[in-house]
């Protein structure tokens, strides 16, 4: 199969950049969390692609794939915690706008 794995990497980078921009400019806490997931998945896709390229070059190691599985599990846990935090934020500040969360300044 002649597939240009560079395209996979481009998709990965795009995912990551969309996620990063969303993370910075969106003001809804839930969408910020979703952007975080996008970044995660961009990174995961990149790792898997590199592993695939490696496999094509004759290696038989699947470390990248396994690492990504671990990553996905971690991302799930992280999202669960993130959602819990979002709920708590909503309870405390009664808003999910990130603009309101400037308590770090005091």
């Amino acid at each position: 199969m002649a597939i240009d794995y560079g395209l996979y990497l481009i998709v990965a980078v795009m995912l990551f950049i969309i996620g990063a921009i969303g993370f910075i400019i969106r003001r809804n806490l839930l969408i910020v969390l979703m952007s975080l997931e996008l970044m995660f998945n961009g990174a995961n896709l990149a790792i898997v692609t590199f592993n695939k390229i490696w496999l094509l070059k004759g290696s038989s190691q699947l470390d990248g794939h396994i690492f990504v599985l671990v990553n996905i599990a971690t991302a799930t846990v992280e999202l669960a915690i993130g959602l819990a935090i979002a709920v708590l934020v909503y309870r405390t500040f009664s808003t999910t706008k990130t603009d309101a969360l400037d308590k770090l300044k005091k």
């Binding site: 910020v32 496999l55 969360l101 770090l104 300044k105």
Partner: protein, 779 residues
Amino acid sequence: MEERIYVGEWALSLIILLPLSGVILNSFLLSWGGYILDLIFRWIINRVRLLGLFFKSVDKLLSKKYPDREKLPGIRSFLLRDEVLTSVSLGVVFTSFLLGLVLWIFHLNPLLEQNPQGFIKCLLWNWVIFNDENTPIIEVAFRFDRLSFIMIMVVTGVGFLIHLYSVGYMGSDKGYRRFFIYMNLFIFFMLVLVMADNLLVMFIGWEGVGLCSYLLIGFWYSQSTNAQAAKKAFIINRIGDAGFIIGMLIIAYATNSLEWVEIEKRLNQLTNLKIGGISLSALASLALFLGAIGKSAQFPLYVWLPDAMVGPTPVSALIHAATMVTVGVYMVVRLNFLYLSTPSVLAIVGGIGAGSALFSAIIATTQNDIKKVLAYSTISQLGYMFIGVGVGAFTGAIFHLVTHSFFKACLFLCAGVITYALKGIQDIRYMGGIKRGLPLIYWSFFSATLAIMGIPPTSGFFSKDDIIVKAYFTQLYSKIGDGEFSWLSNLYFVIGVVTSFITSFYMIRLFMLVFEGKEKFRRNISWQLHNGGFSMLFPILVLAFLSIFGGVKEWLEGAIPEPEFRVIPSKEIYIVILSIIISISGAYLAYTLYREPSLKKVRFFSTQFPFLYRLVYNRFWIDELFDLVIVRPMRFLANLLYKFIESLLIDGLVNLLGYLTLGISEIFRLILHGNGKLQRYVAYITIGFLVVVLYLGYPVTDIQAEMDTVGGLYIRLPAYPGYKFKLDFDGDGRWDEEVDFKTPTVYHKFNPGIYNIKIEITSNWGLKVLKNIRLELEE
């Protein structure tokens, strides 16, 4: 011939994909599809003259015909109407049904004998591919053979009728569109399940129908009892599904495959491997049967089904009576070769089936909610099917599955009409006398009742007696051990007959209380079915017709391989007559008890044996037992873990970390002033990160030069991967040499003089930097 198979494969995948496309199309129209269509139409109207004129005229016509409150453009408002959604979702199911029929005519019709293989396989794509060549590919493939054809007919046929019924039943509901999307999704997953070519694809359907069941039980989710019931169904099914996964893993481990054909070929590998004296095939089939217990609501995991009756009645009819709950039977029949290799497991299957049949039939005699009676009756009838499977009467079990789907769906739909007409009353103590108001429903219900009682010549008679007779004559259990368990078949036979007595009793009780006697409800009911009278009545009449005349076993004959039965015809006749007499006597008992309006005789029973009555009325306290044995200890343990492990240890640690961070950040806050907005900080971090990355991409200009004695200069360039270099030795503006990182050392000979050597370094990021070296060479 070949071309025909090709077409067949396409039709095969279409059968499955059509309901899915219904789901997608309707969801699309429901969400932002309307707006996109609107945009497209507007664009066409503005840009393309001819088409635009056409669309405009259609638009005007439609907006005259369907004036809309929201003043949407005509085409869009037309596409967003309920009629469009209804016809899409009914249409796809019906087309699937027709396609299934066409496929059968072209490929599997035994008369034509065009397909000696007996099945068509359609490979959609390879799902999991391993590098290891010994491990097979897991395919997303579907299979069309006589068994799956029967199931497709039941799913899409009965499914279509119930869809049609729902048009009337759910007509005034706010969630009308959501309902039809869920129903189509259910049909899709159900078709995936019954047409799967391997266990994993079947599992997708298995989980999918579970999901749809959950969504539809909790359809009116704003009431907490409904949400609770949905959760209960889902969680209890998890137990069964865990069994299914374990069984699947065992089979995959031992036979290295999941396809039906491959498993059958390599059955030896399963039976030969043993753990602690038990063969893996027994373990696998037991584990898979646990899945069947959960999905088909058998003892002890049946408790979710009665609760599931809080969902809309069409759902109870389609999912919790006719199709989804029967997939356990289908699965065991599909894996008949596996189960036949371990008769002892089949004995357990039959035992669980017999237990559930008897147990839930007993419970059904005292319940007062019309739908709950029918739910317990469903469990009982499923128990029958498992008796059939357990004794090896696979054809009988599937046959009973089909006829049960007719008569039970009919009963449920009738119950739906009654509760609809009585504006929500479900308690049979407040019904009575409905015969006068709804004569057609009365006759339909009556014919379905005859079918479930097994009165000849209704369909239920043929299927039920097939199971009972084969339970008596089965040879399977004499193969277990030294034949010391062969009495089991007699036991199952006796339980089957006793259950048919109780079945007749509770069905006639239900029938008498609902339709006969005085009217006990105190509301003014106008006996007119409101909108959609046809859509509700037509399916009921068709199903009533089928429950009487649907008992045609011939087209099932030979679809499933079966063990041999030594049926003695002279004895068989006695058994059949016995079972008819017994079921009629049960009916007669109920008739005499419930004929009187005062129900004196019934009260006599409940007062004479109060404990027994309360035991049955409270469903043997099984729910409470589960609550006490499983739910409470679980809650207690969870509380314990929450209070000590979670709150103290984990939260303590996390809080400690938090306080630590707070403390440190307190210090930093004193030094720096931010605006406190985290995202601003993240932006700063990102910019900083980009700077670092750019710095990393900035070419390294680490050049070393070395002179030799004859005026030659070695230039060692930084050999990082991807770097390219251009060199200009004499300073005339033209590049003299271009190299890359693979040849990092350049040699050039100079005559004496002053040189301005220019080196352009391009990094792997494409960034360029120019480096000048001044060289003064004396003689």
